[in-house]
């Protein structure tokens, strides 16, 4: 089957989730990073969509599995399966709509409630190309990110600005966490399914777990 061919030649597989209000541009960040595509009118996401892309981080091949879902508030309660095993998150707001920034706090609670405490989180102010419509200042967002101990970047999926940087930074940070063995996989078995056992020949490790065939650190 396709999924088991050469493109699966990677050292790590990291699951990264996209969260944030409806219409902030999550799906376009996903398509820009994984396929270098952008669409002004893409279908609104309802269930779960995901795409993968492998990049080189330090001297390792990291396969990023990016998950995307619906942003409407009432959907938030049906996402515990969505967060399972995530080791990184991009919390997206729209720089032109202040309410989407206001809701970031709520999203953060939801995220921390469902994931391992070592998860790498980056706050993303998307649609930064719409300079004349800006409603959230960079300083405010930066201050919030510092307070909440998350990374922060402003992006434009349309202009392809900082998208690559944002994902690369998150993946690099996850890699550092894994390398430092700081990820306490023993604490929350639900967060990292099958994380502790690395079976040769198995691809179960949709998490920050070192893949088969690689030197055991």
């Amino acid at each position: 089957m396709a999924a088991y061919r050469a493109d699966d030649d990677y050292d790590y597989l990291f699951k990264v989730v996209l969260i944030g209000d409806s219409g902030v541009g999550k799906s376009n960040l996903l398509s820009r990073f994984t396929r270098n595509e952008f669409s002004l009118e893409s279908k609104s996401t309802i269930g779960v969509e995901f795409a993968t892309r492998s990049i080189r981080v330090d001297d390792k091949i990291v396969k990023a599995q990016i998950w995307d879902t619906a942003g409407q508030e009432r959907y938030r309660a049906i996402t515990s399966a969505y967060y399972r095993g995530a080791v990184g998150a991009l919390l997206v707001y729209d720089v032109t709509r202040h309410v989407t920034f206001k809701n970031v706090e709520r999203w953060l609670k939801e995220l921390r409630d469902h994931t391992d405490s070592n998860i790498v989180i980056m706050l993303i102010g998307n649609k930064a190309d719409l300079r004349h419509l800006r409603a959230v200042s960079t300083e405010d967002a930066k201050a919030f990110a510092e307070r909440e101990n998350t990374f922060f970047m402003e992006t434009s999926a349309l202009e392809s600005m900082n998208v690559e940087n944002a994902f690369t930074e998150v993946l690099t940070q996850i890699h550092h966490v894994v390398s430092r063995k700081a990820l306490d996989i023993g604490d929350d078995p639900a967060a990292l399914p099958k994380g502790q056992t690395i079976n040769v020949g198995s691809k179960d490790d949709v998490s920050a777990v070192k893949k088969v065939g690689c030197c055991s650190s």
């Binding site: 088991y4 409806s22 279908k43 309802i46 995901f50 619906a70 409407q72 399972r84 179960d204």
Partner: protein
């Protein structure tokens, strides 16, 4: 005299604004969903199509303010508009679907009805396709990852439109149990492939690819009704009753936890 007129105008505008803020502001979401419903469709994705869809969705949100606008309804209403003669007919079909055919509270503020359906579906998968269910359980695959979209959009976002229409024909005739038949059939059709998967991502890929390419409604419906043994509406209602308390408790617990962490700050 003029003072009274000014006061009257002020009160009128004030109450209107209050009304718009309280009732309409949550519907910002639907405004941005209009062009995101079947983008590229020769009629739906035109100013006329957007306006018609907006009228149906707004009208329904006024009919049932508990539902208001729920993402997913845009796809359902759009497909109804394509097959019904008038937008009024489409509106009434939407009302019948939500109020008489589907389980109640599917689209209300916490989607509790949808949560119940997911749990019922999970149990049915164990009963009707035990092999697949056991394998997916081992992978920690939760059926809600794919079935949420199936149930909330009544398959309209997942299946080709012609196939969705055939499913809806049976759905309107036989009731909501049809959704379970069809959902189980999709898993059943790909049993061999699903049993070979080794991670959640592959399962989602297979199921999404399958639904997007199900151009032959007969193939799907044959499996749904010949290969999946029949279920009565009463049995399913009992299953729902059984799951409801657990779902409610889970939703309450989640709210309590989130509110407490917010308050702690």
């Amino acid at each position: 005299m003029y003072v009274y007129i000014y006061i009257y105008i002020y009160i009128f505008f004030y109450t209107s604004c209050q009304f718009y803020y309280s009732v309409l502001s949550p519907f910002y979401v639907y405004v941005q969903d209009l062009p995101r419903t079947f983008p590229g469709h020769p009629w739906l994705d035109t100013p006329d199509g957007h306006a018609t869809l907006r009228r149906v969705l707004v009208a329904y949100s006024f009919r049932d303010s508990d539902v208001g606008y729920c993402q997913g309804l845009n796809y359902v209403a759009a497909l109804l508009l394509l097959v019904m003669k008038t937008e009024e007919d489409a509106f009434w079909m939407l009302a019948v679907l939500l109020e008489n055919v589907l389980v109640s509270d599917c689209y209300t503020s916490n989607l509790s009805g949808c949560h119940v359906e997911q749990r019922v579906f999970k149990d049915l998968l164990v009963k009707k396709c035990p092999g697949i269910a056991a394998h997916l359980e081992a992978l920690e695959f939760d059926v809600s990852l794919v079935a949420t979209e199936w149930f909330l959009c009544v398959f309209s976002k997942s299946l080709p439109s012609e196939t969705t229409m055939r499913v809806w024909d049976v759905l309107f005739y036989e009731g909501a149990k049809v959704l379970f038949h069809v959902a189980l059939a999709i898993f059943k059709m790909k049993e061999d492939e699903l049993l070979m998967t080794r991670q959640v991502g592959d399962v989602i890929n297979i199921l999404q690819r399958t639904t997007h390419h199900l151009f032959d409604p007969d193939e799907l419906l044959t499996v749904a009704f010949d290969k999946i043994s029949s279920m009565t509406t009463t049995t399913i209602s009992k299953q729902r009753k059984k799951q409801e308390p657990a779902v409610m408790a889970e939703l309450d617990e989640r709210l309590r936890r989130l509110n407490s962490t917010v308050d702690d700050k």
